[in-house]
Every structure is written in structure tokens, then in C-alpha cells.
Amino acid sequence: MKIEEVVRVLNADVYYGNDLLDVELNSACAADMMSDVLAFLKDQALLISGLCNPQVVRTADMMDIKCIALVRGKVPTEDMIRLAREKKIAIISSKMRMYIACGKLYESGLKAGEVSV
């Protein structure tokens, strides 16, 4: 699924990444605690989170995540957008709640990807 489709499915606003909409995402994870994201070594291309601070972008960068989808209408701060631009990580925001956002993306074909528990 391309970032463009994630934007469409989540009815999201794009805060950074209009030139990244063609980037393909093949896996996703959802978490508000960043150590939960850091607990899996495998590729996760999309991070869905209700957390809204610069460490979300840092965490995404450490994990080579290509797109951050904020939920519950969170608006990224200037710090976050600056860092996202520097790291070329798309950052979008949807008014949907986490559960609904995950459900809609899963239903549209974006699976969890390979994870080890």
C-alpha cells in the first residue's frame, strides 16, 4: 500500500511528505509507547500512534519507518515536522481513533508484517 492510499483510507492531512506519497508500505505497527516500537527488529514501514512529540519521529528514524500516522486528530509540532523533513519520513494525521484507523488499514490490505514475539 502506498502512503497515498493510507492518507485516503484514514482521511488524513499530510503535514510532511507530499513528495513521498508514492512510497510503498508493506507493514505496520501501532503503539503509544515508543519502547514497544523498539521491541521488534523487523521492518515496520508505517507507525500509527497517538503520541505526538519529537521522539515519535526519532523512534521512526531508528527503525527505518517511512511514514507516521498520528491518530485522534493530533497535530505534529514544528520540531516534529522539521525532524521528519530532515529524515524524509512522511507525517500525516487522522481524526480517527487508533482502533478504527488500524482496522480500516488492515481491512484495506495492510498487514502487520513479520514480527517475532
Binding site: D32, M33, L38, L41, N53, P54, M62, M63, D64
Partner: protein, 139 residues
Amino acid sequence: MSSLHMEFDVAGNNFVSAGSASDEVKSKLKSIGIDPTIIRKVAIGMYEGEINMVIHAGGGRAIVDLYADYIDVLLKDEGPGIADIELAMQDGYSTAPEAIRDLGFGAGMGLPNMKRFTDEFNLQSEVGVGTEVRMRVYF
């Protein structure tokens, strides 16, 4: 002698800049063509450690050395120290205040994640003196 040596001061209580040293190491390792999985292991371990130093220790120092077969990360702080290391190593145990949890950390996963993704992990700490974490990732 290591083929690459990097040292960083990690500023305490600056949550915005937390992670910038790990970011710099990750970029450097990428630029010299280190395997992405190895880079991610080092990045996760160092980033969690950096966050710990910011949250708990008022900052510290991070030293990274690249050798022919492995990468060493040393994190040193002069924070309050860890009273019960065994307890601190348990998944989910945290002494971080609620305000830190609101920032997305303090879930008690930092030290376990550092150990999980590095091949060698050594933690030494003395209450009132500080903490030293040594991590090694082999190629």
C-alpha cells in the same frame, strides 16, 4: 585500535534533543556501508540508553567504537544509580514518573530492549555514583 571512534555528551533533561547521538551514529554507520540489521541493533540499544540517561541521570556520555568484527557502545552517567539491577532488567518494571510515560517512555522496556538486541550487555551501577552500560554487537 578501533577504526572509528565517536564520543558524545548527552544533555540531561532535554527531551527534544534526546536521541541525536544515536541518530548521528546510525547515519555514520550507514554511510560506511554497515549491514542495516546491525545498524538497527546498535541504534535501538544506544537510543534506549540515551533516553534512559536523559530521563534518569541528567545526561551522560556515549562512546562508540567500530572494530573489524563488532561495534562497542559505552554509556556512562553520574546519575542516581540503580539500586536493584535484577528488578530493573525485568520487562515492564520502571521507576520513571508519570510525566515520562506521557512522553511515550518509561514502560520498563528500555533495558530489556538493550539487552535483547545486543550480543553482549553489561550493566554496572552504584547508587549515588552512576551507571555504566557496555553493549557489543557482532557483525
